[in-house]
Point group: C2
Amino acid sequence: MKETVQIGLLGYGTVGTGIIKILQTNAHNIAQKVGCPLAIKKVLVRNPGKTRNTSFNVPLTTSIDEILNDPDIDIVVEVMGGESPAKDYILRALEAGKHVVTANKDIIAKYGKQLFEAAEEKQVDLLFEASVGGGIPIIRPLKQCLAANRIREVMGIVNGTTNYMLTKMTQERLDFETVLAEAQAKGYAEADPTADIGGWDAARKIAILASIAFNSRITLDDVQVEGIENISPDDIEYARELGYAVKLLAIAKESESGIDVRVHPTLLPHHHPLASVNDVFNAIYVRGDAVGETMFYGRGAGEMPTASAAVADIIDAARDIRHHVSSRILCTCFNQKNLSSAQHTESPFYIRLLVEDRPGALAVIAGAFGAQQVSLHSVIQKRRINNFAELVLITHKVPYASIKLAINTMEDMSVVRKVHNVIHVEAGEFE
Amino acid sequence: MKETVQIGLLGYGTVGTGIIKILQTNAHNIAQKVGCPLAIKKVLVRNPGKTRNTSFNVPLTTSIDEILNDPDIDIVVEVMGGESPAKDYILRALEAGKHVVTANKDIIAKYGKQLFEAAEEKQVDLLFEASVGGGIPIIRPLKQCLAANRIREVMGIVNGTTNYMLTKMTQERLDFETVLAEAQAKGYAEADPTADIGGWDAARKIAILASIAFNSRITLDDVQVEGIENISPDDIEYARELGYAVKLLAIAKESESGIDVRVHPTLLPHHHPLASVNDVFNAIYVRGDAVGETMFYGRGAGEMPTASAAVADIIDAARDIRHHVSSRILCTCFNQKNLSSAQHTESPFYIRLLVEDRPGALAVIAGAFGAQQVSLHSVIQKRRINNFAELVLITHKVPYASIKLAINTMEDMSVVRKVHNVIHVEAGEFE
């Protein structure tokens, strides 16, 4: 039986540092759980001369081959981030017969199929709990704890940056640009914030979650993506008044018409468990046919939470090594299911628009909706801006295509000055 | 390789029916996950003549030996409930070399050590996800997903009956007896509700969670237990006014002075993630040194949620059988840690008492607290009952022993008519 499980760590940034900290601080407890000690044999870095915390005392290397060719190394842990060369290194590690743990959502979302095939062929583990939801257990719960269920729906706040921004905009009534600048100053948003605020980070994560939940491969290209750039404090205030919080949700649902996967700002009723998830916290709501509603909540990013998830994977792989088993649970995309068209997605919608403030204007708008069989649940008109009136409408549940057609018609009408925003409403009482 | 994994089911009540439903409804999907079909070979019942859903078509038996001596049966699933004969059957199943899945919190909390030793000896799985939190994944997350962490604290709403009652008392301002009668009428509370409202059900569950979280065996005898019988609508209303929800919490914390495990009504600040867990929902909050705060939310009881957890365990055991591995993760109580004395438990306290309505009364009360070094955070006096004034106090964080002494002194004072209630406050801003 193995006396020490040896790890090769690729990357010594934020998460890499967190992993080293945990493996050193909790070494005794982790050794008890595994049945033998874990040791970091080598850490791949770009610049070995960089000043680092010397108390860790881990051997550095700049050569990936030194790790991949080392027969003592059992587990390769990839926390470099980015696609290249990380994907190539992961693939080579699998081909070298090493178990792989990664926190890399970009790679799992894009190359999952290829990598799982390589893991399958070599009968090694490929674990990626840290790729979604930071420290929140969600991959293993979906693959194991909820395995009895047909999952109907996975819906999450999986991007901390945008949740922090929307929380600030809600609580302090600040506008988008102010809050973005503040998030950047605090290090919550990057200099180029496109991946976060555009919804692309959340899209990669929901592609991964949907693939597991529905046992069918979903990639980034399958996700309809809309970011929060267009959300104003006015929208948030109207939503609040109507009983909703505005959240950037990553949503995956399966129905008879297929799998529907999207990321977009959403009005969530205040009583929904996700509505009170604030600041940088993440949460993932899962509905299964047997379990009903469940939710997993915690810190979706950061050095220690993400490292917590990666080390859990390391411990799992090490337990497998000790028990001479591997690849108990690999790719679970057994089926190829159809995607439903975004046009068919049904939901209530929130619409804010500016119309001429004259008799009959509302009748014209209502007529445009009526022509597309869109019925209205509530209407607020209370603010005048110059000679225009601001209208906020919430529709009953309708196909997205009908809303699209109604909006297109309205945009050509002289009575309509501007359609400010069209936002999905997550049903609740409207269903 | 096994072509079908065979199950012997002990018990055909609520949860047993749920398990049969799931294994039949989701048979194809589950077979994909395991790699082969699962089949229920036999169901142990007391009365085979009882009218049952015939569409399930499962073979019944009244003989436990028929199941234990059947070499085709790989997994024994115990959902009979109660201690006897369930404990004996589980032990015999383990000794017969069968993997065991159980939903029985009473048995795991009381006989965990003995059963795990039997499983260890025969190298078989003993899984019990359904014993705590119904459908909520919590055992596996603690044993695997959060394995990198030193867990500091586990705190849960783990009894649906009392949470339903407290929610009703809060939302509809009903008293304890009215709500209990309503819960009994709805089937949420049993005819003899002692185990639920007295906190004993929650105590068994926190004993199980604490054992896993702190890697040290905790049994029911180690848990300080107090039920909700003494909570009045007045307490709930005062708490609300002060910014708190009243919840029956099961709490396990580790500090330098040892492990502190208790169940009691608690004032939770409204912003705490557990404060908004209402009705029959359960949630378990876990704080680890790396992951920080996490929470797991869902339905803590009921046919399908509980069966969801049991079938997840069945799938896990079946995956082990297919991969010729077992007992990857058995007992994790590696250490024997000390319990800290309840007297040392520090927290703020809420105290409601009736005092003579005369000048100097408050000074006498304040003096009694001061003598025990108990300082007060807030005081409300606003209601007069006959010639007495009702006082509600919240203290700063103090040892329970000090509060106890102060209360004892006060109970002997002529100025004090009655000490109505002393309730723990879960810190937040007071810490």
